[in-house]
């Protein structure tokens, strides 16, 4: 399957376009593809990653472009978010119950099997989810 690339301005109002691209990944598989639940979770994780770029990388927004690359494979999907804003090396920390903030990074790590941040020009946030392992686990439970 081909790599999909989407470029949008680093503004909140464009995040829905990134989510829409993620939700369409399921249509690329004829069988054994990601479930609807996977797609919803990936869309949320990508939204949070891009939202962090807008909020922290560009202090609320910029016309600079950020780029999402989606690489669908048989048993996993790799996402890469590229941006030229300020680097964000924040690490996820435990979010206490009833917290009003601090969920974003934890969500990304909860959804994806692998998350790597590479500061540079551009910065690259690489996220991989091996969704096929879910299918195996689901079948094993039955």
């Amino acid at each position: 399957m081909k790599t999909i690339e989407v470029k949008v301005p680093a503004r909140y109002e464009y995040l829905g376009m990134l989510r829409a691209a993620v939700m369409r990944v399921g249509a690329l598989y004829t069988e054994g593809g990601p479930s609807r639940e996977h797609l919803n979770r990936w869309a949320l994780a990508i939204h949070e990653a891009a939202s962090n770029v807008v909020r922290h990388g560009y202090q609320g927004g910029s016309d600079d472009l950020m780029q999402l690359m989606i690489e669908p494979h048989t048993d996993e999907v790799r996402f890469t978010l590229l941006d030229y804003g300020r680097p964000n090396t924040t690490q996820p920390t435990a979010t206490p119950p009833m917290s009003e903030s601090g969920y974003g990074l934890n969500l990304i790590h909860a959804v994806m099997d692998q998350v790597n941040y590479e500061p540079g020009r551009p910065h690259a946030l690489r996220m991989t989810d091996r969704f096929a392992e879910w299918h195996v686990a689901e079948h094993a439970e039955k």
């Binding site: 909140y12 109002e13 995040l15 829905g16 989510r19 609807r36 639940e37 919803n40 979770r41 869309a43 949320l44 939204h47 949070e48 939202s51 807008v54 909020r55 979010t95 119950p97 009833m98 917290s99 009003e100 903030s101 969920y103 974003g104 934890n106 969500l107 909860a110 959804v111």
Partner: protein
């Protein structure tokens, strides 16, 4: 996002349409602040027209829940849709909120409290 509210007995029903996100989350937080400061006690938020909730949107709902408790009231959520449900499962926020499928169920729960 649009927000409307309607007092129904001892419950104020807040209806939201659109997305609950980094832009609309702070607006909702302010609206709930105003409601509780204005004397509202129990609030039921209708999320059946909300297609997506992100971490900032969830933060606004948590802020509203804390505000309700400070005013000796309750805040409940109604009609969570599929895509909005993901964030509640991943953050386990469903543990701190009372969730209802329909507004009549939520109103029955809040009546007499």
């Amino acid at each position: 996002m649009t927000i409307s509210n309607l007092p129904k007995g001892n419950v104020t029903v807040v209806r939201i349409a659109g997305e609950l996100n980094s832009v609309s989350g702070p607006q909702l937080k302010q609206r709930l602040n105003d409601l509780f400061a204005g004397g509202a006690r129990h609030v039921a938020i209708d999320l059946s027209s909300v297609a997506f909730i992100d971490s900032m949107g969830l933060g606004a709902l948590v802020a509203g829940l804390k505000n309700a408790k400070q005013h000796d009231g309750m805040l409940v959520l109604v009609g969570l849709r599929e895509q909005a449900r993901a964030i509640f499962e991943l953050t386990m926020a469903y543990r701190i909120f009372d969730l209802f499928d329909t507004m009549s169920e939520a109103e029955s729960f809040l009546e007499g409290r």
